[in-house]
């Protein structure tokens, strides 16, 4: 998956849970203040993301994510881990 496709998928998911539309989402946005997600909603976002991409993200790590960029970065890192595990 290219970075662009990954980012777009994540933005789409964010738009589903928040009131912000995809074209208005920016990397520097904060999940809480800018997208309007409360703690339950932002955990649900990360949970759905992990499920859709079949990633094993520990709860402690997900609880640290507070921005759009952080979400994308978390997904990217775990996709790379998964690919490395599959290759070995």
């Amino acid at each position: 998956m290219t970075d662009d496709i990954l980012t777009q998928r994540i933005f789409k998911m964010m738009a589903q849970l928040s009131v912000v539309r995809v074209p208005d989402i920016k990397m520097e946005h904060r999940l809480r203040e800018d997208l309007g997600l409360d703690s339950v909603c932002s955990m649900e976002l990360l949970s759905m993301l992990a499920e859709e991409l079949d990633l094993d993200v520990p709860m402690e790590e997900a609880a640290q994510v507070t921005t759009v960029a952080g979400t994308v970065e978390m997904a990217r890192r775990h996709l790379a881990l998964k690919q490395a595990a599959a290759a070995s």
Partner: protein
């Protein structure tokens, strides 16, 4: 509370229910209960990732003594109130029972689901910390770097022996995390034990049962409903943290399935989340006898959705039990039980699920604003008395006076009694409940009024049902001084999340003069809510 003066023939009986006596036991304090009998059986099994750690009552008591020694060292003059700011962990339970060992009052404080900076945490908790007058705070090393206004203790030291504590208050339950006017319900040893025993007795819980729970221990349903009920009924509980469930909803049901659990608990939104997100394939829920749904309004669609979807996993429809309680009554007031399913009540075309009969020790009546008891089938405020009702709100005479009418607790909830069954139909008290967390409209309105140029008392925060989330939505109506004064609703939503952690679904701006008010100029929130259900007129922007 007064009875009707004359009782004419043909009228329904008064809406007044009395449960059997509250069960008693040998132990008269939580600390005695923890250490009585054989204390070596597994009690709490904590699951963190793939790691499970099991603790018996004896091991928890040892931890508690370690914490108690540390508290005494930190406050040589004597510990009266202990704040417990910890996630679901052996540390939380140890610190909670350390307070019991010292005869002090435990004050559980809300631990956040999403990690934030400790500075933000203390900002949100400041009003509670000020009201609670803590002598010492048990927390994690990360949070101990902050000035809390009381010494912090982060790790248990060497065990010591302490004298049997005086029978006093067991804990203080703050009913809403971050409010400008926090209320701490003071729960006695008798109430704590009585409420737990009443629930165990109604559900016939015993050592053969197995519990699974992700509810936070600082919340009344997690603390009394899970921790203390399993303590008195002597059954093991598998413990997750709220974040574990939110991150992997299936983990909850996986544990129920693998541990052959008989009891689990959650607010309505959590059951709705399972319906939305979890595939029943590979699950075996046939062991579940008690699946409790409580602590926020219950949706019939959620109950039906869960029963239909998880029938494939062997879930028994009779196991889905609607329960009603509140922190001011320690916890349980009315419980459904598997053996006696009760029908819904139709009110204005809406199906209201039955909350069952009253628990042992509980006396309940439906009354009007003057304390006149209503008849069966009539809606009114649910009022409760009995040995599990709180003593008072800690150092808050006004709030206590407004809530207690003699020994009767005014719950602020609306309901109906019919055929010995309690139905919760709505709320007199103007609270917003999201995912089981309670928010006071006043706090929400204060934050918004600080951001927008409004008319005096020009903000109304009201809840509305949100069937999709299985919870409640929040609508904030803002009356503008000038029509041009509207600001980006996202700014308001973001600020509410930052300051209070509450999610506003709609921000509606209306022109001056359109907000329903009392003659003294206060906003009529109920009229605002009713207006939202009708056509939203006079809308400036949303």
């Amino acid at each position: 509370m007064h009875h009707r003066s004359t009782d004419q023939d043909g009228n329904p009986p008064e809406a007044w229910l009395r449960g059997p006596d509250c069960p008693t036991g040998a132990a008269s304090s939580l600390w005695d209960e923890l250490r009585s009998g054989d204390t070596s059986a597994p009690w709490l099994i904590f699951h963190v990732g793939a790691v499970r750690t099991s603790f018996s009552r004896g091991e928890i008591a040892e931890r508690a003594l370690g914490w108690a020694a540390a508290f005494q060292a930190a406050v040589p003059a004597g510990v009266k109130r202990v704040g417990v700011l910890l996630p679901n962990s052996p540390e939380f339970v140890g610190a909670f029972f350390a307070a019991q060992a010292l005869g002090a009052v435990a004050v559980p404080l809300p631990w956040p689901v999403v990690d934030g900076a400790p500075e933000r945490l203390i900002e949100a908790l400041r009003p509670v910390l000020q009201r609670a007058k803590l002598d010492v705070l048990a927390t994690t090393p990360g949070c101990a770097t902050i000035d809390w206004g009381a010494p912090t203790v982060t790790a248990p030291l060497a065990p010591l022996s302490v004298p049997n504590p005086a029978l006093a208050a067991a804990f203080m339950q703050f009913t809403s995390g971050s409010t400008g006017d926090p209320r701490g319900a003071v729960i006695s040893q008798r109430a704590a034990l009585g409420s737990s025993r009443a629930m165990a007795s109604a559900l016939q819980l015993g050592p053969a049962d197995v519990g699974v729970s992700w509810l936070p221990f600082f919340h009344d349903m997690g603390l009394v409903g899970v921790l203390l009920t399993s303590l008195v009924a002597r059954f093991p509980v598998h413990v997750l943290r709220p974040g574990d469930f939110l991150m992997r909803p299936r983990k909850w049901l996986d544990l129920v399935s693998s541990e052959r659990a008989t009891l689990t608990v959650g607010p309505n939104f959590a059951w709705e989340l399972l319906v939305r997100r979890v595939n029943p394939e590979g699950l075996d829920l046939s062991s579940l006898r008690c699946a409790l749904n409580g602590s926020e309004p219950i949706h019939r669609t959620t109950l039906d959705g869960f029963i239909a979807k998880f029938a494939a996993a062997g879930f028994k429809p009779n196991a889905m039990l609607c329960v009603y309680g509140l922190a001011e009554a320690t916890l349980g007031v009315a419980f459904s039980v598997p053996e006696a399913p009760r029908p819904d009540l139709e009110i204005e075309g809406r199906a209201v699920p039955a909350n069952g009969g009253v628990l042992p020790g509980i006396e309940l009546c439906v009354a009007d604003a003057d304390g006149q008891v209503k008849r069966e089938g009539e809606e009114g405020e649910l009022c409760v008395r009995g040995p599990t009702v709180m003593d008072h709100y800690f150092e808050h005479a006004d709030a206590t006076a407004a809530t207690m009418r003699g020994d009767w607790l005014r719950t602020g909830d609306l309901g109906v009694v019919k055929n010995g069954t309690v139905y919760v139909t709505g709320r007199e008290k103007e609270l917003v409940i999201q995912s089981g967390r309670k928010f006071h409209p006043y706090d929400i309105e204060r934050v918004v009024a600080g951001m927008v140029e409004t008319t005096p008392n020009g903000v109304a925060a009201v809840s509305r049902p949100d069937a999709a989330q299985g919870s409640e939505g929040l609508v904030v109506v803002v009356e503008l001084r000038r029509v041009s004064g509207a600001i980006d609703p996202m700014l308001i939503k973001g600020e509410l999340l930052k300051v209070l952690g509450v999610r506003a679904d709609v921000i509606e701006f209306v022109p001056a003069g359109t907000m329903p008010r009392t003659t003294s100029g206060k906003v009529k929130r109920k009229a605002v809510a009713a207006g939202l259900l009708a056509a939203p007129a006079n809308k400036v922007a949303s």
